[in-house]
């Protein structure tokens, strides 16, 4: 008989959590940069630029994350003629993916700012970039917090897909421990519970914040 599932195996799973969190945070940071560009390009006066941002969002929201991961992974391998390490490929793929979703979320937040704010800024003879920077963005940032936290939950869950190309994070650690102990009925529910512990508090925070901000904006509560 092989190993059975004990404290050592449980610690192995716990030690994989930082990889999951690090990947999620990295992708969130990368996605924030991409997403800010995408959100702004979606609302600039120039039509071709808006179209470019719309296609970017359509492409990344219309294809599976797994495929984006494969194309990035093998694409980098083709580009550099060597099999690259999993880290850069996974980080790049998840950043591009997050950028599309955050871009769309943040565009929504920007558009939720009343038109009069733009007009008032224009009356002060600010140009488009200054209107955006000094008047709109900070107000929009407040509205964007709950859906952004909600997306972070989605991102943490989706980083599990990196396990498929061999990147060692929580799910991959679960696979490894299952192979070592032959106890999937113990390992996978524990892995699921660990994800739940990471994600549930964030989900609750997102819900609470949403209620606060809806109340502040005077949006009617249905629930």
């Amino acid at each position: 008989m092989g190993r059975s599932f004990g404290t050592g195996e449980f610690l192995f799973l716990l030690k994989a959590i930082p990889s999951t969190l690090l990947l999620s945070l990295g992708a969130l940071a990368g996605g924030a940069i991409v997403g800010l560009f995408v959100a702004i390009l979606r609302i600039v006066p120039s039509r071709p630029l808006r179209w470019l941002a719309t296609s970017y969002i359509g492409l990344f929201q219309g294809t599976p994350v797994l495929m984006q991961l494969f194309v990035t992974y093998y694409g980098l391998a083709v580009l550099f003629k060597i099999q690259v390490d999993a880290w850069p490929a996974v980080l790049l793929a998840f950043s591009l993916y997050s950028g599309a979703f955050l871009g769309e979320i943040w565009r929504g937040s920007i558009e939720a700012i009343p038109r009069a704010q733009w007009e008032a800024a224009e009356c002060l003879s600010l140009g488009f970039p200054k209107q955006l920077w000094y008047v709109i963005l900070l107000q929009a940032a407040r509205i964007s917090i709950p859906p952004t936290v909600g997306f972070a939950v989605q991102l943490i869950k989706n980083t599990s897909i990196a396990a498929i190309i061999g990147f060692v994070e929580l799910t991959r650690a679960g696979q490894l421990m299952t192979n070592a102990t032959f106890e999937p009925m113990i390992v996978y529910p524990i892995v699921a519970a660990l994800y739940f512990i990471l994600c549930w508090p964030l989900s609750l925070v997102a819900q609470t914040l949403e209620r606060h901000i809806d109340a502040a904006l005077g949006i009617k509560q249905h629930f």
Partner: protein
């Protein structure tokens, strides 16, 4: 960079890829229908059931929404056989997709139900309709109509996330792409084309779901 792209290999295997796409469409469409059914039952339970039922539905929804789909698949395929429930890969995939969609869609349908003006329910009660009759004839139809766009987006997300069921050897587009990529050594080309197929399917589903909306909710109505 002196890698030579060879897309003609992909072209030769296009029939197999299209067959995979068809399997993905079948799998997703079945899961959508079953998942919607689960969602409607859960939404009814959560808005009209006794407290234990409400609590149970809430637990189901929170558990599924705060754990990764990939881990859920692993539990259905690898963990359940330990307690004697043995599913084939494609059945496990279908069950996992249904259970996953059921939780997300239940929240969406519930939002639709709560948006129904209370006067409607009171009027129905005044006419002597029973609880289930009120749900069946007064509530569910307009509720589904209100939240249809959100449901359609969730359906498409499900179709895209079906690509990860290839990890439990369920046969669909990603699994077929994996095997073709590894036998021809043209990974990048195959994944690139498969990504395009997924994009086409996402657009196709969006159009199809739009047509269903028109056929179910708009036809023969003046308002």
């Amino acid at each position: 960079m002196n890698y030579v792209f060879q897309f003609n290999v992909v072209w030769d295997h296009l029939p197999e890829l299209l067959e995979g796409a068809l399997l993905t469409i079948q799998l997703s469409a079945t899961a959508m229908a079953l998942g919607l059914l689960v969602a409607i039952v859960c939404a009814y339970g959560k808005s009209a059931g006794p407290p234990p039922v409400r609590w149970l539905v809430a637990a189901y929804v929170e558990l599924i929404r705060n754990t990764p789909f990939l881990v859920q698949i692993f539990i259905f395929y690898f963990s359940l056989p330990v307690i004697g429930i043995r599913l084939t890969a494609n059945t496990a995939a279908l069950v996992a997709m249904t259970v996953n969609l059921g939780a997300y869609a239940a929240e969406i349908v519930r939002a639709g139900i709560e948006a129904i003006p209370h006067g409607q329910v009171e009027a129905a009660r005044a006419l002597g309709l029973k609880r289930l009759q009120i749900f069946r004839f007064i509530i569910i139809f307009p509720a589904l109509k209100t939240v249809y766009p959100a449901l359609a987006s969730q359906f498409i997300l499900l179709m895209l996330s079906s690509s990860v069921v290839s990890t439990i050897s369920a046969v669909e587009l990603t699994a077929i792409t994996n095997s073709l990529a590894s036998t021809t050594f043209r990974s990048f080309e195959f994944y690139f084309v498969a990504t395009g197929l997924y994009l086409a399917m996402a657009l196709g589903f969006r159009a199809g779901l739009g047509a269903i909306y028109w056929a179910v909710f708009q036809r023969g109505r003046t308002a």
